[in-house]
């Protein structure tokens, strides 16, 4: 027996007006991050103690730059969704909750662009 009302099924979006969108995106970014994070940790361990020239040469390789930009995008998307849930759980004052979530999303987007821009700047310079 389904506990969902007919109206709820028709609208299908719930009180947040987005249905399972947040939940599903969090899972999809999580799945994407599994191989990307394993790749990053292996690469960082291999390059431990590397000097600037070696790190730049590594980041210039398309096989580094492309997964790195993908990792940055998935990380800040996933992290932004996660911090949103934490804020929604613990910040009960409405204006403060909305402001905190907005600030978190702006910070996540800014950091993602700074990271991706840095990688691409290295990748495209010579």
């Amino acid at each position: 027996m389904s506990l969902r009302s007919e109206l709820g099924r028709v609208r299908g979006l719930g009180s947040a007006r987005e249905g399972a969108g947040h939940w599903w995106t969090q899972r999809m970014t999580a799945v994407a991050l599994v191989p990307l994070v394993i790749w990053l940790v292996v690469q960082l361990a291999v390059h431990a103690g590397a000097d600037h020239a070696a790190v730049v040469a590594w980041l210039r390789d398309p096989l580094t730059a492309i997964p790195m930009v993908l990792l940055i995008a998935a990380t800040f998307w996933h992290g932004g969704l996660g911090l949103q849930v934490v804020i929604e759980d613990y910040v009960h004052t409405r204006w403060l909750r909305v402001a905190s979530i907005a600030l978190t999303k702006f910070a996540a987007a800014s950091l993602a662009v700074i990271g991706a821009f840095s990688v691409l700047k290295i990748a495209f310079s010579g």
């Binding site: 899972r27 599994v34 390059h47 600037h52 990380t75 996660g82 911090l83 934490v86």
Partner: protein, 151 residues
């Protein structure tokens, strides 16, 4: 007994009315009286490591931006990360990353509707703890070997 009933019933309904009204409802869970269990501790650790890792992304972005800026800024980041406090933060973040990764895979497994019986939940929980510690140790051994071989 019989004489004691009516006032008690009135008292209980008064309490019930107070409890059911907004503002004084019982809150759950009361962390002070709950015995820490593998399930609850790992659950909150997933959230704590998640928040810590978002802070750790600042370091990744700083490192990438410094690499793009040039050898000078890059050397600054490397010296901060090579200090004992930097290495301690990196050690903490690497464990947090492996814990969140392993427990995240456990969550994805749960999302498929499997593994919810208590023996499996306990076993997968301890497996996540063991895997996160082993992977952290393996990474640092590999990292130290790579850094040693390079210098």
């Amino acid at each position: 007994m019989v004489r004691g009933e009516p006032p008690r019933r009135i008292f209980m309904s008064f309490i019930q009315a107070r409890v059911m009204s907004t503002g004084s409802r019982p809150l759950s869970p009361h962390l002070q009286v709950y015995k820490p269990q593998i399930t609850s501790v790992l659950s909150i650790l997933h959230r704590i490591t998640g928040v810590a890792l978002t802070a750790g992304t600042l370091l990744l972005v700083w490192w990438l931006a410094a690499a793009a800026a040039g050898p000078g800024p890059f050397a600054t980041v490397q010296s901060v990360m090579g200090s004992w406090i930097g290495l301690l933060l990196l050690l903490g973040w690497s464990w947090a990353l492996f814990y969140h990764l392993c427990n995240g895979i456990r969550h994805l497994f749960w999302d498929s509707g499997r593994g919810f019986d208590m023996p499996t939940v306990t076993a997968s929980g301890w497996a996540v703890v063991a895997a996160s510690l082993l992977l952290t140790a393996a990474t640092w051994i590999a990292g130290c070997a790579a850094a040693g071989g390079m210098s």
